[in-house]
Structure formats: C-alpha cells, structure tokens
C-alpha cells in the first residue's frame, strides 16, 4: 500500500512525529460575562468554552433535589468547516453534547449545589479534527475558572490508526482518510476514563496501543491545563499583592 499520510521517515502531513500533539494554546478567563471561560487552540482548531452557574434551574421541573444538574451544548459555528454547516443542531452535535456532558459529570461536585443548574457551552470556531476532545479540555478549564468545586480536570485527546500506524491527535485529513479514530477523556486525579469512543477498524492490540498513546497525550495536556490556570490565578495574585 502506498503511504500518503505518513512518509518513509515517519513524518505526518503536517510535519509531526507519530506521537506528537499539535501545537496547543490555552487561555483561561477570556469572556467577561461568563462565570468561567477558556479559549483553546490545537493545531487549526479554535474553540471557546464558557460556564454559567450554578444558578437557579429553569425550567424548574428540571431541578434535582440532591444535586446540581449539568446542561451542556457542543456546537459548531457555520463557518467552522469547509462547507457551511447548518447552525441547527445536527444528530452528531446532539450525540457529542451528551458524551461530553457524561465525561464532565464525574468531575463536578454537583452534590454541593442541590436544585441548581450548571451550563457548559462549547463553540467550535474552527474545526480541524479532534474537536470533541478539544472541546472537553476547554470545558474543563472553564469549569475550574468558574470556581466550581471539581474532583480533578478532564484532559481529552484522540489517537488513531493512519496508514497502518498508531498516531496521536489526528488532524482532519487523518481523521477522514485514516483507518480508525479513538477519542479518549481521562481524569488524572482519579486515574479513570470518562469518555471512550471509537470508530473505524482496528485490532484489540491496536486499540490498546491507541489508548496508551492517547493517555500520554492526555497527561501532556493536563500539565498545560495546570500551567494555564496557574498563569491566570498566580499572576492575578501577585498583582494584588503588589498593590
């Protein structure tokens, strides 16, 4: 088979090695109105996440007596992809909103805020593969920025199989033309997975390799998330002390 996504030196179309993440940029607290927010760039992906709450649940019948409920929306801007995307939620976005919410639920200490609601909004401004994971990583930062008590952070990253090789953090071309995509969300503090999906074709051994390389990616992203939070909060503290 003629390899077209990975060259003979094991270099990918965008110049990365097999186990290399795309360049990442994270910034916390960039929206004025939201209680918590984050901007996240991963390669060409540009993502905004915002958190509102905990606030009164409305409509009220949604409230739960023993915990806060989480409302989550993953949404792609019409201009985020090559062909304009209809802004109405697609079946894909509805499913992703669900799996992203389920990946964040174990993190949030919902039991501390009974009868309230926490809103999480993820907007994909530019999509280039791996947006559900990038959205999750951003949402986790926004939750921390909102000051909501958390059990840890979610770090999410995809791995996959491209040209018969296991690679980390697929870009759009690799996702579309590759053999398999394995999005993973990991909570380092709890040492557990909170999102696991896969589509494509791979052996169980390949799946395990993909999972382990994705885990390495998640751990790297986690370090960067911590740095991004420190950058905002430690600097703010230093400024306050100087005044």
């Amino acid at each position: 088979m003629l390899s077209k996504l990975i060259d003979e030196n094991g270099i990918r179309t965008d110049g990365r090695k097999l186990d290399e993440l795309r360049p990442v940029k994270m910034e916390v607290g960039i929206l004025k109105n939201a209680n918590g927010s984050a901007y996240f760039e991963q390669g060409k992906c540009k993502i905004l996440a915002a958190v509102y709450g905990p606030h009164e649940a409305h409509p009220r019948h949604l409230a739960l007596p023993d915990r806060a409920i989480i409302r989550c929306r993953y949404h792609m801007a019409p201009f985020s992809v090559t062909e304009r995307k209809n802004p109405a939620p697609s079946r894909r976005e509805i499913e992703l909103s669900k799996v992203i919410r389920e990946a964040l639920e174990p993190l949030v200490m919902c039991e501390l805020f009974p009868r309230t609601m926490i809103d999480i909004f993820i907007e994909i401004l530019t999509a280039d593969g791996g947006t559900r994971c990038a959205g999750l990583t951003a949402a986790s930062l926004a939750l921390a920025d909102a000051g909501i008590p958390l059990r840890g952070l979610v770090s999410a990253c995809a791995a996959g199989k491209v040209d018969g090789k296991i690679v980390l953090d697929l870009n759009d071309k690799e996702d579309k033309e590759g053999d398999a995509d394995v999005p993973v969300a990991f909570i380092p503090q709890m040492n557990v997975f909170s999102l696991l999906q896969m589509d494509g074709l791979m052996t169980a051994e390949d799946y395990k390799s993909a999972l382990s390389i994705a885990l390495q990616g998640c751990r790297k992203l986690y370090e960067m998330q911590i740095e991004a939070l420190k950058k905002k909060y430690l600097e703010t503290k230093v400024e306050e002390n100087n005044q």
């Binding site: 989550c72 894909r92 394995v182 557990v192 997975f193 074709l201 791979m202």
Partner: protein, 276 residues
Amino acid sequence: MSTTPHGSIIAKILQDDIKKLANEGERGDGRAFDEYRKIKITTGYVEKAEGSALVELGSTRVLAGVKVEVGTPFPDTPDEGVLSVVAELLPLASETFEPGPPNENSISLARFVDRGIRESKAIDLKQLCLERGKKVYLVMIDIYVLDHSGDLMDASALAALAALNTTKYPIYKMVDGQPVKTEERKTLLIREYPISTTHAILDDKLLLDPSIEEERATGTFISFIFLEDERICAVQKNGLATITEGMLFDALRISSEKSKELRKLLFPRGDVGGQG
C-alpha cells in the same frame, strides 16, 4: 443541549440488593456475570418491509425494519448507496420514554448501530449505485424499541443486522434517466456480521447484557462491536460514571469472546435466512 437526566426511579433497597448480590458473585436472575439472556430472533416479521427482524433478549423486545428506495447520493460519495439508521424509543416501551422527536438517547443508540454497520462495511454501498451521481439505492433501517428491559444497544444492533440479513429489495432500471421499479427482487449481500456486546459497570464488577434493574442500579455502560476477524469497529461508553483501564481491558477481552459465540450461534455462515 444535553441535560443531566432525572434517572429512573429505583428503590434504594433494590439497588443495594443488586450490589450485594454482585459482591457475592451473583445476579438477580441467576445468570453468570458473562452470560446473555435467552435470545430469540424472528425474521420476516413485517411483510411490507424489505427486511425485518424482531429480537427478544430476555424480555427486551426490539423490532427492526428495512426499507429500500431510490434517491440521490451524497455529493461526496456519488457512486455509493445511502445507509440510514433511525431509532425510536417508543413511549409504549417504558415508563421513562416520552413521545416526541428523537432525543439524545435515541440518536446515540442509532448512531452506534450505524457505526457498526458502516465501519464494518457489512453492506457494500458501491453495489447500490444505479447511476453515478444521480440515483442510488437508499437503505433505511428503522429500529423500534417495543419493550425496554435492558441492553438496548445489543438488541438494536442485532435486530438491525438480522433485518438486513433477510432483506430482499426490488430492482430498479434506469429508463430515460428515471428509475423504474421492476418485478425482480435481489437479496442484499451481507459481507460482515458485526456483533455488539455491552457490559454494565457496577463498581468493580462487569455485568454482560444488563437487565433493566441492573441498568438502573449502575447507569454506566461500555459497548464494543467486533467483526469476525476479531477487529473492533466501534466503542462507546455511556452514562455518568467512569471506568478504569483494567476494567476496560477486561470488558474488551470478554466482549471479544462473547461476540464470537453469538455470531456462531446466530449467524452461522451459509445457513442464514436471506443468505442461504
């Protein structure tokens, strides 16, 4: 928007009981942890459908119907037929289902079944092209959940596959650029039998093919779809809780074995309804 579900009401005493039993290595209905309930497949259940199957998994009942029509292909796949999977969680199937348009649960169920059929290339969509870029066959699978007693993922995937496996569709001929239905019918060729296996995650225990009580007590699931050559074509975790790597690999191993058993039992090669 996806909102934390209100969850099904389950008596605390029943939930505790299920956990206690599991810790003693037992299940409420006497099954082993890695044992399926009784499976019954009735094909050709709906005469008007091109293919259909009623799957009974214990008292869970799922009916799948296949309709084949002619329509236009997607612009990015001009020489391929179109596959669509829609799932309906009928209000008559459970006190927790409400009438209305598909919600996140029915959409994610349908998308999981779709992934199994699509990624495994169970049907050859290239064979379903009438005229490149103009007319192709549309294979529409509708999954009707009739009675929800647990493990809809596996029952639905099985129903869809069994329905496809017995599908005979009318052949169309292009006459003056228009598709015309002929009297001839053709058997839809099935190349792969992707089998879904689901475990409920109950603390540190894995329960294969969870019953409705077990589903309500755990609320978290891990599903795999395996092919005959032991490759995986879909993975999906559902629910509010998390899973450790050790349990994930256990589930992977058991699923791989169980899917082989199920395939052998339900779809022995060369001896299947529509494919014989």
